[in-house]
C-alpha cells in the first residue's frame, strides 16, 4: 500500500546524483596514542538467541519511509536481515556475512542495484563483529580506534566512562562516508541506532521495540 511511495522514493534516490561530500576525516585534529587493545569487538548483534527487532525510519532525500527491520544471527559468520512493512509484508530479505551476501527475497520496487548495494555496505559495517585496530586516538570522552579495511577506514568510538561502543565512522582517507551512532542500554545492546550517510541524503534510524 505504500509501494507507490516507495517507488517514488527510489526514483528520487536514483535521480538525485549530486554527491556532495561534506564530511571530513574525523581524526585529523586528534592526538595519536599507543594502541591498547589490538582487537576490538562491536558487541551489539552477537547473540544467536536474540531477535533484534527494530522499527525503522528511513529518510531518503527528504522523503520518509517506515517499517520493521529484523536482524538475526543465524550462525557464527552470518546474519539474516528482513525489512517488512508495519502490516508485515516482506520488502527485502537478505543474508550477509563479511564476505558473502545473498538476497532471499525483494519486492520489484526495491530491486535496484544502487539501493541494494548501499544497504549491503551499511549492514556489513553495522554487523561486523571484530576490528583489528591499527592506530588509536583520544579525545575528551572517547578512545578512538582506527581500523583499515581495504582503502577504507573505520573509526570506533568507545566511551571512556563505560567502555561502550558509541559510534562508528566509516571514511576514506580524506572524507567521512557514513556514521553509525548508538544509544546503548548496556554494553552489549543498543536500543537506538542511527546510520547517517554523508555523501547521499540517506538516514536510517532504528529503534528497538520490546517484542512482548
Amino acid at each position: 500500500m505504500v509501494r507507490s511511495k516507495i517507488l517514488f522514493l527510489i526514483i528520487s534516490f536514483l535521480l538525485v546524483t549530486s554527491l556532495n561530500s561534506c564530511g571530513t576525516n574525523p581524526i585529523k585534529q586528534l592526538n595519536e596514542v599507543a594502541v591498547v587493545n589490538e582487537n576490538r569487538i562491536a558487541p551489539y548483534f552477537l547473540s544467536k538467541d536474540i531477535d533484534y527487532v527494530y522499527r525503522a525510519n528511513i529518510t531518503v532525500y527528504g522523503n520518509d519511509l517506515s517499517g520493521i527491520v529484523v536482524i538475526k544471527k543465524i550462525n557464527e559468520t552470518m546474519h539474516r536481515v528482513v525489512f517488512t512493512t508495519e502490516f508485515g509484508n516482506k520488502l527485502l530479505d537478505f543474508e550477509i556475512s563479511e564476505t558473502t551476501f545473498k538476497v532471499n527475497a525483494i519486492v520489484d520496487e526495491l530491486n535496484r542495484k544502487i539501493l541494494v548495494n548501499t544497504l549491503k555496505n551499511d549492514f556489513r559495517i553495522l554487523l561486523r563483529k571484530s576490528y583489528k585496530i591499527d592506530k588509536q586516538f583520544e579525545e575528551d570522552k572517547y578512545q578512538i580506534g582506527e581500523s583499515k579495511i581495504g582503502n577504507r577506514y573505520d573509526y570506533l568510538y568507545f566511551s571512556k566512562n563505560g567502555g561502550e561502543l558509541m559510534r562508528i565512522i566509516h571514511a576514506s582517507k580524506r572524507k567521512e562516508k557514513l556514521s553509525i551512532s548508538y544509544t546503548v542500554e548496556s554494553n552489549i545492546f543498543a536500543n537506538k541506532i542511527v546510520i547517517q550517510h554523508q555523501n547521499i541524503k540517506l538516514r536510517i534510524e532504528l529503534n528497538y521495540f520490546n517484542n512482548q
Partner: protein, 211 residues
Amino acid sequence: MRIKVYYLVLCLIFWNISAFSQEQKMSGSEINAFKQSVNAVSKKIKTLSTDFVQYKHMDFLSKDIETSGKMYFKEPGLLSWQYKKPYNYAIIFKNGKILINDEGKKSSVDIGNSKVFAKLNKLIVGSVSGDMFDDNEFVISYFKTKDNNVTKFIPKDKTLKKYIKQIELTFSKEDATVTQVKLLESAEDYTRIVLKNKTVNGKIEDSIFNN
C-alpha cells in the same frame, strides 16, 4: 517384535498428523449455508470497530513479532488501522488516498486509479467484514473445525499474488464474523491478525478517518 515397534511408530506418526489437521473440508451444502450466513451478517455491517493483535511469523525468529491496536471500518469504504503498541502508527484508507500518521508525523499517498490498491483496499475491508466470496478474484476453499469455519483465498490477480500467496479467514461458528485473518507469503512466513472485542454498527465519528 520389530514389526510391532514399526507399527507403533507408524500409529504415533499418523495420530500426530490427524491431531494437527483438525480442519475438514465442507460439503457443498455446508458451503452454501455458511456463505449465506456470512453474507447475511456482513450485509448488516455499517460500522465495525475491533481490537486486534498482529503476529508476524518468520521461521528463523524465536518469537513472532507482536503489535496491536484498534481498527475502525465505516461504509462505504473508510478504514482506519491504528497500531498502538509498541508504537503509534495509523494508516487510513479514504477516498482513493492512504493517510499515514507515524508517531505524529503525517503523510498521504494518492492511490488514485491504481487497480492493485483498489483490490488491496477491497481485500482488507472484505477480510475484516467477511465479504470476500468473489470467485472471479480468488480460488476459494472451505473448511470447518470444531468451533470455526475457515476459508482460504488464493488470489487470481498476478500482481496481488506476488505480495500475498493466500489469505485465510477464520469465522466464528457462533456469530459468523471474522475472528482471524492470516496472510501467507509462504509457509514459513505469514502475518496472523486476531480480531477481538468487536462492536458492530456502533457510532464511529468521521474524525477517526482524518489524519
